[in-house]
């Protein structure tokens, strides 16, 4: 058996087609280009921040096919044909903030904002999965475990935890009411 496709060559620029924040986008990348640099430099989506570039700080967290993960540990060529959602896609079509963003604002869950884009994307996925899998409110311990994958040097995390718990509670109550 022979290889079905030849490898993408290291020197070439390869087409990457993706759905970024509900919009079809196309760019070009060499195999070694990270998704962080592709989003920022090739597609101009600078909401995703670059921190440590080895998966520790969480600033670059995006959703790929709904799943929160590190864009700095992902190659641009790996998202060809996939859906990528970044912080730019969280706002409503009319530009207003989503419930999670509003809660962050209300609770002062950010100061410099460098880590915030990644944290929001993690929280968005985590809350979705919790609602789908178990349909219950999370505990503070669980929220802190989820946030342990992010480094924030401004807030001390407490207001972030409060914002996430508030949104989880409001969504849970809302979901129960709509089922009743």
């Amino acid at each position: 058996m022979t290889l079905a496709f030849p490898p993408l060559s290291r020197d070439g620029l390869h087409q990457v087609q993706l759905v970024l924040n509900r919009q079809q986008r196309t760019g070009h990348a060499p195999p070694r280009m990270l998704l962080t640099d592709f989003l920022r430099d090739e597609l101009g989506a600078t909401g995703t921040h670059v921190g440590c570039e080895h998966g520790v700080c969480g600033a670059c967290t995006v959703r790929i096919d709904d799943v929160a993960c590190r864009a700095c540990l992902t190659l641009a060529v790996q998202v060809d044909g996939r859906r990528v959602d970044t912080v730019e896609g969280l706002t409503q079509p009319d530009g207003s903030l989503c419930d999670l963003q509003q809660a962050f604002k209300r609770h002062h869950a950010l100061q410099c904002g460098f880590c915030t884009a990644g944290i929001l994307m993690s929280c968005a996925h985590w809350l979705d999965r919790l609602a789908a899998a178990e349909a219950r409110e999370p505990t503070e311990t669980e929220v802190r475990e989820m946030l342990s994958g992010h480094i924030c040097r401004c807030t001390g995390y407490t207001p972030i935890v409060a914002a996430v718990l508030e949104v989880a509670s409001a969504r849970y109550v809302g979901a129960k009411a709509s089922h009743a």
């Binding site: 290889l3 993408l8 060559s9 998966g55 540990l73 992902t74 190659l75």
Partner: protein, 281 residues
């Protein structure tokens, strides 16, 4: 930092992946979840000529129970196993260990097989595989072989896998009735690499204690059911036998003490879970 240049092959079938490995051998690396490999590439600690991406392969993403084992394909993420309904009864030890494995965002992409193949001495999944006496299925272009966990981990980031072999499947034996499990870990921050992690398995006759983060690979030892000072003595002997590493973040002395402390806690947890299991059976 950014990785050095490499060619990139997306392999949707295991045959493609092993053929590419046969052709390129040590110059090629398998990219599964990339949660260790991509960091290594970004820091330029490795410089492969070819990356073989198996992360989107459906055939390699199979997760099934067969012959009393949970068989986890090469591309199955840790999150898929962690969120599996019934994991707590199928593999209680894994259910205890998952919250200690890095972070939610990393488990979403990181694979079980990738962690086993990477063989970090502090990795929780490698520790659990050894504690539960699991095995791995290795595949090369010419055939397959099964290797027991005890024979697979051969040193710091070293395994019995040959350069042209793919770790096709990891197999965890399902928990037998009447067994109890304990897991304890100490790390500098939640989700960091374990300074010391201990897994304990207790059944009606014996006790199995596995330790990670201390020696250059996970280790496991079998004991009769021990209690009180006999258990302390056994753990002390175990702690000294592991040739603990001195590192800036943790001295060998601290690691030995952690083996004694966490070991005792994990054993007590396993024994009490076993009692619970019996009373509800």
């Amino acid at each position: 930092m950014k990785p050095a240049a490499f060619d990139y092959l997306r392999a949707d079938h295991v045959e493609q992946a092993v053929e590419a490995l046969a052709r390129h051998g040590e110059d090629a690396r398998i990219l599964a979840g990339g949660q260790s490999l991509m960091a290594v590439l970004n820091m330029r600690l490795a410089n492969p000529a070819l990356l073989i991406d198996i992360s989107r392969s459906e055939p390699m993403g199979q997760l099934r129970v067969a012959q009393g084992q949970l068989c986890i394909g090469a591309a199955v993420t840790q999150a898929r196993v962690e969120w599996r309904a019934g994991l707590a009864s199928e593999l209680p030890l894994l259910a205890l260990a998952f919250p200690h494995i890095s972070h939610f965002q990393v488990r979403n992409r990181g694979t079980v097989a990738g962690s086993i193949a990477h063989a970090d001495p502090s990795a929780e999944l490698a520790l659990c595989l050894l504690a539960l006496q699991g095995e791995v299925l290795l595949r090369r272009a010419r055939g397959r072989r099964v290797v027991k966990a005890a024979d697979f981990f051969t040193g710091m980031l070293l395994t019995a896998r040959a350069p042209d072999e793919l770790l096709e499947e990891v197999r965890f034996p399902l928990a037998p009735a009447g067994a109890g499990y304990g897991f304890e870990e100490f790390s500098m921050r939640h989700g960091d690499f374990a300074v010391c992690a201990v897994a304990a398995v207790a059944d009606a006759q014996r006790l199995r204690i596995a330790v990670g983060g201390v020696a250059d690979r996970p280790t496991a030892s079998d004991f009769p059911l021990l209690q009180g000072s006999a258990l302390d003595d056994a753990l002390n002997e175990l702690a000294w036998s592991l040739d603990a590493r001195d590192e800036p973040q943790a001295s060998a002395q601290l690691r030995r003490q952690l083996v004694r402390t966490l070991g005792r806690r994990a054993v007590l947890q396993a024994l009490s879970n076993r009692a619970l299991e019996r009373s509800t059976a």
